[in-house]
Amino acid sequence: MDTDLAIRLAVEPDNGTRPLTPSEDKHFVTGTLSDPEAWVDEYGDYLFRYALVKLRDEARAEDMVQETLLAALTANAGFAGKSSPKSWLIGILKNKIADYYRKASRETSFTDHDFFADEQNERFVQEGLFKDAWIHELGPVDWQPNPGAELDKAEFWKAFHECAGKLPGPVHRAFLSREIEEVSTEEICALLNITPNNLWVMLHRARMALRRCLEGNWFERAGGKV
C-alpha cells in the first residue's frame, strides 16, 4: 500500500483521533507488537501491577490495562520502534490513569457526598456545655500494646487494605497520594483539580474514617481494647 501514508503516520503518531482500518493496520505492525493478543501475555501483568499500585482497585486496573492495549492497537504506528514496547505501553497507561483522574474529579462532586456530611457526629456530644467533645465510650481507644508490632503481620495490612478500600473514590485517591505515595499537597491539588481547602477536608475525613475502621476491624479485635 502507499508508503506516503506509512511515513505520515510514523511522523505524526495517531493520537487516537482516527482508528486505523484493518488493512492499514497490517502495514504498521512489526516486531513484538504484531500480535495484539500476545501483548496481553507479555505485558499484561506488568501493566496491571503498575495500574494497581496507582489505582488500588483490581477491576479498575484491569479496565486500564484493556484501555491501554486497545489504544496501543489503534496507535500502533505511533510506536515505530522509538522506545521499548514496555515503556511505550507504560506511557499510554500513565496518560489513561491521568485521564481517569481528571474525569473522575469532574464527575464526582465530593462535597455533597454522604461521607462528607457525616463527621462521625454520633461520636461527639451533640449539645450542652461539652458540645463537640468525644463521647467517652465512643472516643478513640488505646491501641495497645504496641501498634508498631502489627506491621509485620500480613493480616494487619489486609485490614488496612480493606479499610482504605472503603473510602469513596476521590477521597481514596487523595488519601493514597498523600499518605502512601507521599505526594505534596500542591501536586495532589493540581492532579485532582481541587483547592487546598477541599484537599484538607478530604484528608481529614479520610484519616478519620480509616482510623475508626482500623480501630474497629483490627485493634479491638486484636485485643487492644481498653
Binding site: 496491571f48 488500588r56 478519620m208 482500623l214
Partner: protein
C-alpha cells in the same frame, strides 16, 4: 444556671470554653500532618491534650497511620493479586480481537 453542677465540672466547663473542641482538634491534627501549624495552634493543641486523653489517642493514631502509610505501597503486593486473572486476560484478548477485526 449551672448551680447544680459541681465546682470541678464548672471549672472544666470554663476551661472548655477557652480551648478547642475535640472536633476542632481532629481537624487540626490532620492539618498538622500536611503543613506546619502556627505556634498558637500548637499551644492550643497542647493545652487540649492536657485535658483530653481521647484526642491524645486520636493524634497518636493519625500519626501512626501517617508513619506506616508508605509501607502499605510495598505490602499491597502481598495483599492483592500479582497478575491479571485468567478471566481478565481472556476478556482483554477478546476486546483486542474484536477491535482489530474492525
Amino acid at each position: 444556671m449551672n448551680a447544680h453542677l459541681s465546682l470541678k465540672t464548672r471549672l472544666l466547663a470554663w476551661i472548655w470554653r477557652h480551648t478547642l473542641t475535640c472536633k476542632e482538634v481532629t481537624r487540626l491534627v490532620s492539618q498538622s500532618l500536611d503543613q506546619p501549624l502556627t505556634p498558637g495552634q500548637r499551644l492550643r493543641l497542647r493545652l487540649h491534650f492536657l485535658l483530653c486523653v481521647w484526642c491524645q489517642r486520636y493524634a497518636r493514631h493519625l500519626k501512626f497511620i501517617h508513619r506506616v502509610g508508605p509501607r502499605y505501597a510495598k505490602e499491597i503486593e502481598n495483599v492483592g493479586p500479582h497478575s491479571l486473572s485468567i478471566e481478565a486476560k481472556r476478556r482483554i484478548k477478546r476486546a483486542l480481537q474484536s477491535r482489530s477485526d474492525g
